[in-house]
């Protein structure tokens, strides 16, 4: 089943001077087509300013389409009546965990969302427990969020979204401010939600290593989708990615370099395991 369907989606940022005359128009989304199935793990790559975040903000209608059509969870995003229904089913997690936590106790923070949409109290507590468990933070339920590490805070933010029981979570560079451990914690939590709870995941990131486990990858440049495919398919095109100011995981790059030197290593190596096997076969 399709969860997101965007056709020729356009968004323009229009700047006006003091008299209201148009000074400049920046096309942040330029006829973007996007299809995401329920339960899929989709990653979006692109350099700074390529339109990734603008696209993400459309998916839970923080921004409205300036042209084209967008359907989320079978609802038209252009119809103002659908706004709240879409937002409940497509939760968003941002880059900086400190900007997303509002309460002084972890469980209260997680309860904020469901309370806001009028979930009965008993049900709220059930949801809080369930979502904190699903991100591995249940033992911190009575702690103050201030004392948590970045990765822990980000997982609390994800739990807060989970407590709304959305069908989809959109993560906009959730690991940019975290240390390696924090990054791993957050990604493991995300992968688990995807596999075990069938939550649709849309992950925006600058870390190429994080998209290896995605089902599909979209690459954006200048507001357009310029590449899409499996991680293996995308990362075998090292030179094209570099043109889009992107990179490939270090292991993939090493495999690519070794191939250039004449070693017969297959294209699109993604993990250490694969490269070790490929080298062993040749040795």
């Amino acid at each position: 089943m399709k969860f997101i369907e965007a056709r020729k989606l356009i968004h323009e940022y229009i700047r006006r001077d003091e008299e209201g005359n148009v000074e400049s128009i920046l096309t942040a989304l330029d006829e973007v087509d996007l299809d995401v199935k329920q339960g899929e793990f989709v990653a979006i790559l692109g350099h700074n300013g390529s339109g990734k975040s603008t696209l993400a903000k459309h998916l839970n209608v923080l921004l409205r389409p300036g042209g084209g059509t967008l359907w989320v969870d079978g609802k038209d995003a252009e119809d103002a009546d659908n706004l709240w229904a879409i937002r409940q089913n497509a939760g968003m997690v941002f880059q900086n965990p400190d900007n997303q936590i509002i309460a002084s106790v972890v469980e209260e923070d997680v309860a904020f969302g469901p309370e806001n949409i009028g979930v009965p109290t008993d049900e709220i507590w059930k949801r809080v427990e369930k979502s904190l468990k699903s991100v591995g933070m249940i033992q911190y339920r009575e702690h103050s969020p201030n004392k948590l590490s970045g990765g822990q805070k980000q997982r609390v933010a994800i739990a807060g979204v989970m407590a709304m029981e959305p069908k989809c979570i959109i993560l906009d560079e959730p690991t940019a401010m975290l240390d390696p451990n924090g990054r791993r914690e957050v990604l493991e939590a995300v992968e688990q939600l995807n596999k075990e709870k069938d939550v649709t995941i849309i992950l925006i990131t600058h870390y190429m290593e994080e998209v290896i486990y995605a089902d599909r990858v979209y690459v954006m440049d200048n507001g357009k989708v310029v590449m899409q495919g499996t991680p293996r398919g995308i990362f075998s095109q090292v030179d094209t990615l570099k043109d889009y100011r992107l990179d490939v995981p270090q292991i993939t790059l090493l495999a690519y370099e070794l191939r250039k030197e004449g070693l017969q290593i297959p294209e699109g190596i993604l993990t250490r395991q694969e490269l070790v096997e490929a080298i062993c076969r040749l040795y």
């Binding site: 390529s50 590490s149 240390d179 924090g182 992107l246 270090q250 292991i251 370099e257 070790v276």
Partner: protein, 288 residues
């Protein structure tokens, strides 16, 4: 004998219930012209440590000596020290405020007491050295991309002509190309001007590629201090404190486990490539 830290301790909220010792007996010597990386998980004391270098934070006990002078001496000028030790914070673009990029970069030297003309000359040199095209200079800093803004912020510190440049996670949130551009630029400054550079980073691949010496912080103490090769050979200990080695270092270990005789502890892609090709050559096996 650039900077010496002698048994530096720092305690947050001393004598309260929230007391936390962020630095414990840190003794370090940072020589002129070194390129140093500082790694450690969140809360390990990295940021607290670097803020001691230019006197933004005052050690609870212990001494700090800049070019042999005690910075806590009454006659010592913190104002001058901050011109010599430039600190680029995390997300420095949040601190841009002037109407044009050029004016923003002039702010530092003006504040140091230089005349307008001199300040402008310094700003000119600084903007040149971060590689920002000239047609951008008189635009608003807020029109720039993330990577460009960050370069303007770094230029703002360079305009004060520091002897030591400290960067706290200068590449967080940048795309891969932006990351390479900033770090290449910093490496170039280090080479051309013998600038001492201290780079705080969460990217093991980046520090392995650029720095000559790596300091690992854990719970307020220095856990390791050595070349990237030395430090990353302790990858198991690094993992136990929430860090890791670069992917290629693990690859070398895996290959050896499978009986492939790769030499050395590669920490960068180039080194790994070299070791693997050499292993094939030594076995006398043609590679194509």
């Amino acid at each position: 004998m650039s900077i010496i830290l002698d048994k530096v301790n720092y305690v947050y909220s001393e004598k309260t219930a929230y007391q936390i010792q962020a630095l414990k007996d840190i003794s370090l010597k940072i020589e002129d012209g070194e390129f140093i990386g500082v790694i450690g998980h969140t809360g390990s004391g990295k940021s607290t440590l670097i803020q001691h270098f230019n006197g933004l934070m005052r050690a609870t006990s212990g001494g700090i000596y800049y070019q042999g002078q005690d910075i806590y001496d009454q006659d010592f000028s913190f104002h001058k020290l901050r011109g010599k030790v430039g600190l680029v914070f995390q997300y420095p673009e949040h601190q841009l405020f002037e109407t044009t990029i050029f004016a923003d970069v002039c702010f530092g030297p003006k504040n140091q007491g230089f005349r307008k003309k001199e300040a402008e000359l310094k700003a000119f040199t600084a903007l040149r050295s971060v590689g920002l095209p000239e047609d951008y200079w008189y635009r608003s800093p807020f029109e720039l991309s993330g990577g460009q803004k960050r370069r303007v912020a770094i230029a703002g510190v360079l305009a004060m002509e520091p002897e030591v440049l400290i960067l706290d996670e200068p590449t967080a949130g940048l795309d891969p190309k932006g990351r390479d551009e900033i770090l290449d630029q910093v490496a170039k400054l280090h080479q051309e001007r013998q600038l001492t550079v201290i780079l705080v980073s969460h990217s093991m691949e980046d520090v392995a590629k650029y720095v000559e010496r790596l300091i690992v912080m854990n719970q307020g103490s220095v856990l390791f201090d050595g070349t990237p090769q030395e430090v990353f050979s302790h990858y198991q200990e690094l993992e136990s404190v929430g860090l890791a080695a670069p992917q290629v270092t693990y690859l070398m270990h895996d290959l050896r486990k499978h009986g492939i005789q790769v030499k050395g502890n590669a920490t960068t892609l180039e080194e790994a490539k070299h070791s693997i090709l050499q292993a094939f050559a030594e076995k006398g096996k043609p590679i194509c």
